[in-house]
């Protein structure tokens, strides 16, 4: 029974893949009053459906670990259903239906974690519902302009109408992707969600916001370029969006560096990575959109990998703070490689595909002549090295800081299989960036009416600014690495393994297990002394939202004073209102 349910669940998690492979023809579902839901598979959502199809079973597999949890399985299936509806929708209502099913089912899944607190859950659902309602408002405004809910480009709008559409949709989608200052819910929910589900949230659900942002571009005839003219060589409207993305990524990167909890760190890093994608969407050229799509792909793979690996660590040790972990490299080697590949991808180092996608974005920024944005993006992507390092140092290197970390064993196979698959995918994509461009991204660009990027060979990435060859790069690096290691062993002399982890050159002192040797949690703390970083780290939007909640509560308290328990007051009020209205009527009307 147990096995059957679990297998069934696994089969359910393959539904996006089935949809992707077997979909033929559109489906229309009339709702009421001329509203018809249209579902069809187009290349643009098809790309995101591919991500979903990849990610869903990989997240489902670790979810099977542990006792059977039918509600969670059911909610996960619902979530997948919602996301598929969203991606297949050809009209706004269907889109919204999918969007909302996704929102609430993910919220309920979030609640299944014992760590969820009220603030986390509330901020998740309220921000997401705010996003949804903004979307709904945007849809209705769109409807009132066009008389139609189908998603299509609208022409002949005046500036005010364009601006209102852009603001409503833009805000809705920026909340979903967690752009600053609307990101409050992201770190809380990614942190508190069930460990494996965080992977889904970060890797796949944030991509729905990206999809929506790309969809937003298609609402206007010439994308963002047609809106408010040009700035330098890119769209002026996109310039603002791009800055939002970049500032998001900078701030989130520094916040990530200062985190002491692995999942929170990854949450902020997700915000930062999605910030790059938003920047690229702001640029809006075909190269940039290609870069955005590529980065979405890479980010999906990387975040799945990292979150699942981290979930494995948390499962095995019960700890999630850097200060409680350490030295797992020997005990959890596969997870270590998972995280290693993950952070290399996250940092955008060659030869993994994170570099390819960032490369496309950089070049698109160069082509748009938006150099300041480029510099800001470089800032956040180099600062990302610090948190990437923290992420691998904290749990795996250094010294074990808790009894559990000293005896932990490798994560169960349900966690390892997805990691190995994802590592393989990442390395393959890194070697063949051109393949991803040709097969995955160019059809989307063509469907968006843009010029495809194209690739001379599967291993090559080519742009107007030049490109690089992933195969050559990878083979050179690998060959050199092997040769260097071989030559090293040819040298005379003896390698000796240190007799103890405490055999450290420690100014002549003898460190012991009690000596605080692990630097994980404090890593990056000294960055506060840099004025800009210190300023960023000492400010937060939390106070603003907490204040908003307080004010709302206070207003509610004030109003609830009206609802006293005395019938005479009620009647007095009614009579007074009657008298007042009558007086006003007589004075004005008569």
């Amino acid at each position: 029974m147990n096995l059957i349910v679990k297998l069934l669940f696994l089969a359910l998690s393959l539904t996006p893949a089935m949809t992707l492979l077997t979909w033929d023809g559109g489906v229309a579902w009339p709702l009421f009053g001329g509203i018809t839901l249209l579902f069809d598979l187009n290349p643009v959502p098809g790309f995101f459906l591919l991500l979903l199809a990849l990610g869903a079973p990989l997240v489902a597999l670790p979810m099977l670990r542990g006792p059977r949890d039918e509600p969670a399985y059911a909610l996960y299936a619902l979530l997948l259903l919602g996301m598929q509806l969203l991606l297949l929708a050809g009209d706004f209502i269907g889109f919204f239906v999918g969007w909302e099913i996704m929102t609430w089912s993910s919220y309920l899944l979030l609640l299944r974690s014992p760590r969820t607190n009220l603030e986390g859950a509330q901020s998740y659902i309220l921000f997401n519902l705010a996003s949804a309602f903004l979307l709904l408002a945007g849809m209705l405004v769109f409807y009132s302009f066009t008389g139609d809910f189908r998603i299509h480009a609208v022409t002949g709008l005046n500036t005010l109408q364009q601006l209102s559409l852009l603001t409503l949709f833009g805000l809705a989608f920026l909340i979903k992707v967690g752009a600053l200052p609307l990101h409050l819910w992201v770190p809380r929910s990614y942190d508190q969600a069930p460990d494996v589900f965080s992977a889904f949230l970060s890797a796949l659900m944030s991509k729905m916001g990206i999809y929506a942002l790309i969809l937003l571009l298609t609402l206007f005839p010439e994308g963002l370029a047609g809106l408010f003219g040009q700035f330098l060589k890119g769209p002026a409207a996109g310039y603002v969006l791009a800055w939002i993305g970049v500032i998001t990524s900078i701030v989130a990167t520094f916040k990530a560096i200062s985190q002491e909890d692995m999942k929170r760190l990854l949450a902020y890093s997700s915000i930062a990575q999605v910030g790059y994608i938003v920047t690229a969407i702001g640029v809006g050229s075909s190269l940039a959109i290609g870069g955005a799509l590529f980065h979405s792909l890479v980010h999906t793979l990387v975040k799945l990998l990292l979150f699942i690996a981290i979930a494995g660590i948390v499962l095995q040790t019960g700890h999630r703070r850097f200060i409680d972990l350490g030295q797992l490299i020997g005990r959890m080697p596969i997870s270590f490689f998972g995280v290693l590949i993950g952070i290399i991808g996250l940092a955008g180092m060659p030869p993994l595909p994170g570099f390819a996608s960032k490369y496309l974005i950089y070049v698109s920024l160069l082509e748009a002549h938006w150099l300041l944005l480029l510099a800001a993006m470089i800032l956040s992507s180099t600062a990302a090295f610090v948190y990437c390092y923290k992420l691998i140092y904290g749990p795996f290197l250094g010294h074990a800081n808790s009894p559990e970390a000293r005896v932990a064993t490798e994560a169960p196979w349900q966690y390892l299989v997805p990691q190995i698959v994802l590592m393989g995918l990442l390395v393959a994509l890194g070697i063949f960036p051109g393949w991803a461009i040709e097969i995955l991204i160019d059809p989307v660009l063509t469907a968006l009416g843009m010029t495809p990027i194209g690739a001379p060979a599967w291993g090559q990435l080519a742009t107007a600014y030049g490109g690089y060859d992933g195969v050559v790069l990878m083979s050179v690096f690998a060959t050199v690495f092997v040769l260097v290691t071989a030559i090293f062993f040819l040298l005379r002399g003896r390698m000796r393994q240190a007799g103890s982890p405490y055999d450290l050159s420690y100014a002549g002192e003898v460190p012991t297990a009690e000596t605080p040797l692990h630097y994980g949690a404090g890593l990056g703390r000294e960055l506060r002394r840099i004025p800009l970083v210190g300023w960023i780290l000492s400010h937060s939007t939390q106070g603003f939202y907490a204040g908003l909640v307080r004010q709302t509560q206070a207003a509610a308290g004030l109003l609830s004073g009206l609802y006293s328990g005395n019938p005479q007051t009620w009647i007095l009020l009614a009579v007074l209102i009657l008298a007042a209205t009558l007086t006003v009527q007589t004075l004005t009307g008569a």
């Binding site: 239906v97 309220l126 409807y143 006293s564 328990g565 019938p567 009620w570």
Partner: protein, 491 residues
């Protein structure tokens, strides 16, 4: 001999049953009979759908209108009557199938529930304004009595408060009726509608205001709804479900029926009503944020939805009206679900305060799940029916390019999410609650699951009822058609 089915049955059958109830002794049959009666009447209502589509059905009692009393069955009243009977059926099924307290299963409850449904149906059906008043008082008396049915301190206090405020509202309404009669010499609604325009304007305003305040108290509109939370808190949740599901809907209908009938141009009252609706909605949703008792919270939520319906009906375009009627149906179903769940929780934990319901999801997984479903529906999240109706309303506003109600409705929905999800979060807290009361059998969930299924069905396939709602909206807004059907003349 063939039975002659007429709309009178909607009123006569329950009344008859109520007054005949002392004839049979076996108390165990009461609830099945109650259920049977409602189901039968619901079936009767359904059987009239084709007839009503063609033309409204006029049932004359003794003398033809405008002199005599008549019942007016058109699409909208049929809709509401059917709805009331569904609500009655669900509540009686719940009372029958669950371990309800004895006072809720006794003869008084039986009689009063029947009276309540009969009175509500009467209010909706009647074409005579004084008859309306009579039904209003029947409903009122049965409601006061139902509130106090438990006869403990809280129930009695709630009943007394309800009685005082309800009587005052009735006096206002009666005053307005008296003035109307003195001004026009008519009691028939259609005739009144014809003649209302000839009344001097200040008198129109006075009558309008008196009527508005009286009905607003009954229909729970701000700033006349301060009594609601206390009553909902004091009464049994099963009864409250009827109040929120049946009573309010009937009064809202009466309010708007009168508005649309008496005023040749509803635009006069549009601003007033929409403002009332919007304030009701926002204030209620805001206040609900701080509630610690589930019954109170649901009361405020109910107020919020009433505000939304008022806002939409007040706009008086066909789309918003149809949407609002749809929303009425949804809201009735949802509030039945939620209040009956509250009843279950109350029986299990002897309290429905937020702190006492920590971790309810573990003790009563099905109840918690159904609560979530209800909450999602009331928030208007797809794929539940609340979404379809809200979308219909919003679409109506968007078609008319009026955007401020959209903004307010969405803001209110956000506030509503703020408290509903707080409760849901608490339900799914990891630590299990202290269970004090008795566990409930699975049968009690049957009516609730039925409602849940209905909510889902209506959300996925609202087109099933679309036509009916459009007809109903047309009937509600179609003043000319109403007058024509009753008086035979075009005003």
């Amino acid at each position: 001999m063939t039975l002659h089915f007429t709309p009178v049955w909607f009123i006569a059958v329950p009344l008859l049953l109520a007054f005949l109830s002392p004839l049979w002794v076996r108390l165990r049959l009461l609830m099945p009979i109650l259920l049977g009666a409602h189901v039968a009447l619901f079936a009767l209502a359904l059987s009239w759908i084709p007839t009503v589509r063609v033309a409204p059905l006029l049932e004359t009692i003794v003398i033809a209108p405008p002199l005599g009393i008549h019942l007016h069955l058109d699409a909208v009243s049929l809709l509401l009557v059917a709805l009331f009977n569904v609500a009655g059926a669900v509540v009686s099924a719940f009372l029958w199938l669950s371990h309800a307290e004895p006072h809720l299963r006794g003869r008084p409850a039986f009689i009063l529930i029947l009276l309540l449904i009969a009175g509500s149906s009467g209010m909706v059906l009647t074409g005579d304004i004084f008859n309306l008043y009579v039904f209003l008082e029947i409903v009122g008396v049965s409601a006061y009595a139902l509130t106090a049915l438990r006869r403990d301190k809280q129930a009695l206090e709630a009943g007394l408060k309800y009685l005082i405020v309800g009587s005052v509202a009735a006096i206002f309404i009666l005053f307005a009726i008296v003035l109307l009669y003195l001004q026009t010499g008519q009691l028939n609604l259609a005739a009144l509608a014809r003649d209302f325009g000839h009344i001097p304007a200040p008198m129109q305003a006075l009558i309008g205001l008196l009527m508005l305040i009286g009905l607003a108290i009954k229909a729970e509109l701000f700033p006349f709804n301060f009594w609601v939370p206390d009553i909902y808190r004091g009464a049994d949740p099963e009864i409250t479900a009827l109040f929120s599901g049946v009573l309010v809907k009937a009064f809202l209908f009466v309010l708007f029926h009168l508005v649309f009938l008496l005023l040749a141009d509803p635009a006069v009252a549009r601003t007033w009503l929409m403002a009332l609706g919007a304030t009701t909605m926002l204030v209620a949703e805001a206040v609900a944020l701080r509630q610690q008792d589930l019954r109170r919270m649901l009361a405020y939520s109910s107020l919020g939805q009433v505000g939304l319906i008022t806002l939409a009906l007040g706009f008086a375009s066909e789309a918003t009206t149809a949407g609002a009627l749809f929303h009425m149906v949804n809201h009735t179903l949802i509030k039945l679900l939620l209040f009956l769940l509250t009843a279950l929780m109350l029986r299990r934990f002897l309290s429905v305060r937020l702190a006492d319901l920590q971790g309810l999801g573990r003790a009563m997984p099905l109840a918690a799940g159904l609560f979530v479903l209800g909450a999602l529906a009331v928030l208007g999240l797809p794929p539940l029916s609340g979404f379809a109706s809200k979308l219909w309303i919003l679409k109506g506003f968007a078609e008319a390019q009026v955007f401020w109600p959209i903004a307010l409705i969405l803001l209110a929905a956000l506030l509503e999410a703020g408290y509903y999800f707080r409760w849901i979060k608490v339900f799914y807290a990891p630590e299990p609650p202290v269970t004090a009361g008795q566990a409930e059998g699975d049968w009690a969930y049957t009516p609730l699951l039925l409602i849940a299924g209905l909510l889902l069905l209506l959300g996925v396939a609202p087109f099933l009822l679309e036509d009916w709602f459009v007809q109903a909206a047309k009937a509600l807004l179609g003043r000319g058609a109403f007058l024509e059907s009753v008086l035979g003349v075009q005003p």
